[in-house]
């Protein structure tokens, strides 16, 4: 027995008479519907998680990858002169789009979470920070370090690579985890539907025997089961997907100061992607039921 385009066409077109040859009820109907709905619900969340992680990895990569910081660690009386010298070097450095020294107030604001708002920076040996924004070409950190070490002894360049990489890696792993979850969910759907289809095929052994006796081909018998399970998986997954999309919609939207947990909601055209979850369930059900039917019918004389 082959499962080819003709089977797909028959699945789409339907055959009311053929649909009726398999008894309509049975626990496998509820099992398939429930499993497909629950798995689709989880799949939508896994998809949202994966997409959010991807966005996060990209944002962290972009934001941190195009900035650098220079710390001027020098005695108070030399700090201004060294800052000026560093800025002059940056003005002539290729790949630097913009560079500016942070004001006292800005530095105070950065440190406020740790030292409180009343901190007097001019009495503390806090380094002067210079924010460097790179252009599209990016700068050469090694060359810049060499120039700074020659002309500004108190300057330390931090290109953020040391702590940017683990963050981007973590976000990428989360994204990968999301896809692994979707794969696992797909495999679980396939396993559940295979079990349900096997149970249905066993429970309908007499139906199959009668159909074969009156001249039904394996394709005809398989199609009756495939169509039923595929439609059940499609409808169950559609319900699960709609519920999950409502649940995702209820999650708080992305806020820049609220971290990762507020950005799980789909954004833009990503809202279309969950539509593919029921379709995937249908494809999985089609393949799983087809394989189960082929195996069961092949064992019959």
């Amino acid at each position: 027995m082959k499962l080819d385009l003709k089977v797909l066409q028959a699945l789409r077109a339907g055959d009311k008479q053929a649909d009726r040859v398999v008894p309509p009820s049975g626990f496998t109907a509820q099992l398939t519907l429930f499993a497909a709905a629950a798995m689709a619900f989880l799949a939508v969340f896994a998809l949202a998680l994966s997409l959010a992680s991807g966005r996060l990895a990209q944002r962290w990569g972009d934001e941190l990858g195009r900035t650098a910081t220079i710390r001027i660690v020098a005695p108070l009386d030399q700090r201004a002169a060294q800052t000026e010298a560093a800025l002059r070097i940056l003005e002539t450095t290729k790949g630097v789009a913009k560079a500016r020294a942070l004001t006292m107030e800005e530095q105070q604001e950065l440190l406020a979470p740790w030292f409180g708002p009343d901190l007097k920076l001019d009495q503390l040996p806090v380094p002067q920070l210079i924010e460097v924004l790179e252009d599209d070409n990016g700068l050469d950190p090694a060359g810049l370090r060499l120039r700074l070490s020659a002309e500004v002894p108190g300057a330390i360049l931090d290109d953020h690579g040391r702590w940017r990489l683990p963050l981007v890696q973590a976000a990428s792993r989360l994204r990968l985890l999301g896809w692994v979850l979707i794969l696992l969910i797909t495999a679980t759907v396939a396993a559940m539907i295979t079990l349900a289809a096997n149970a249905a095929l066993s429970a309908n052994a007499q139906v199959i025997a009668v159909l074969r006796l009156v001249g039904a081909t394996d394709r005809y018998i398989a199609q009756a089961f495939i169509r039923r399970f595929t439609l059940r998986a499609l409808s169950g997954a559609a319900v699960g997907t709609v519920l999950a999309m409502f649940a995702v919609l209820l999650l708080p939207g992305a806020q820049s100061d609220a971290g990762f947990l507020t950005g799980v909601r789909f954004q833009g055209w990503h809202w279309i992607l969950p539509v593919f979850v029921p379709l995937l369930s249908g494809v999985v059900a089609f393949a799983a039921t087809g394989a189960a039917a082929r195996r069961t019918l092949g064992e019959l004389s």
Binding site: M1, Q17, A18, R20, V21, P23, P24, Q206, V207, A209, V210, L211, R212, L213, V214, G215, A216, T217, D218, R219, Y220, S301
Partner: protein, 223 residues
């Protein structure tokens, strides 16, 4: 139509049928008799491809059954109507839907008039909408016969068709099978009911085959 040549069939280490040669010509009427367990049902199943011989050759409509794939076997079954003693239906479909089943699975539309005629022929017109579970033994056998012949098969195989029904009903069923034979269908009936065979021979020229000691032989004049 169906030809068996030196056919043997073994199961579970023992040989059930041995060196059987048999030819069911078009329009012929055969009885297959023998004690219970002699292999009548096995021989019937060999004739429509439900079992494959362990030795010898079986040709159905000119094709060796060993060379037929599963789809070919399905096509053979559309040309061979089978009635079993323990007839099985699809319990969730009514009688008319069960009788139409061979048409349904072969993608042919059932024309109302033909079905009505067939239902009337087997005397089930008023039971068309009943479920199989609501039928008596005789009604089930007649429904099975109607299902077996709705595709106008070339061959009708009936395995103990009167086993579960009373004398009057078995005579009625027999008359239907004789009518089919007169229409040119090849009929093979497996039975151990010798009175049925005697009753038939008054109406149609039938050959009686007996299975004994794993072999088929032409039965003697005692029948």
């Amino acid at each position: 139509m169906i030809e068996l040549e030196n056919v043997a069939y073994s199961y579970g280490g023992g040989e059930l049928l041995s060196d059987i040669s048999l030819k069911l010509a078009a329009g012929s009427f055969h009885f297959l008799t023998g004690p219970s367990g002699a292999g009548k049902t096995t021989l019937m199943k060999l004739c429509y491809g439900a079992l494959l011989p362990t030795a010898g050759h079986i040709r159905v409509f000119g094709a060796d059954v060993r060379e037929l794939d599963r789809d070919d076997i399905a096509m053979v079954r559309r040309r061979v109507g089978v009635v079993h003693q323990d007839v099985k239906f699809l319990d969730h479909l009514d009688v008319s839907e069960n009788i139409k089943l061979p048409l349904t699975v072969s993608g042919r539309s059932s024309e109302g008039a033909d079905l009505d005629e067939l239902m009337s022929w087997v005397g089930l017109t008023n039971r068309a909408n009943a479920l199989p579970a609501e039928l008596s033994g005789g009604e089930r056998q007649r429904a099975a016969l109607a299902r077996a012949v709705i595709m106008s098969p070339d061959v009708v195989l009936a395995d103990e068709p009167t086993g579960n029904i009373d004398w009057e009903m078995s005579q009625r069923l027999l008359r239907l099978l004789i009518e089919l034979n007169k229409m040119g269908k090849t009929v093979l009936i497996a039975t151990h009911d010798l009175s049925l065979i005697r009753a038939t021979k008054a109406h149609v020229q039938a050959r009686v085959l007996r299975i004994a000691n794993r072999r088929v032989q032409l039965a003697g004049a005692d029948l």
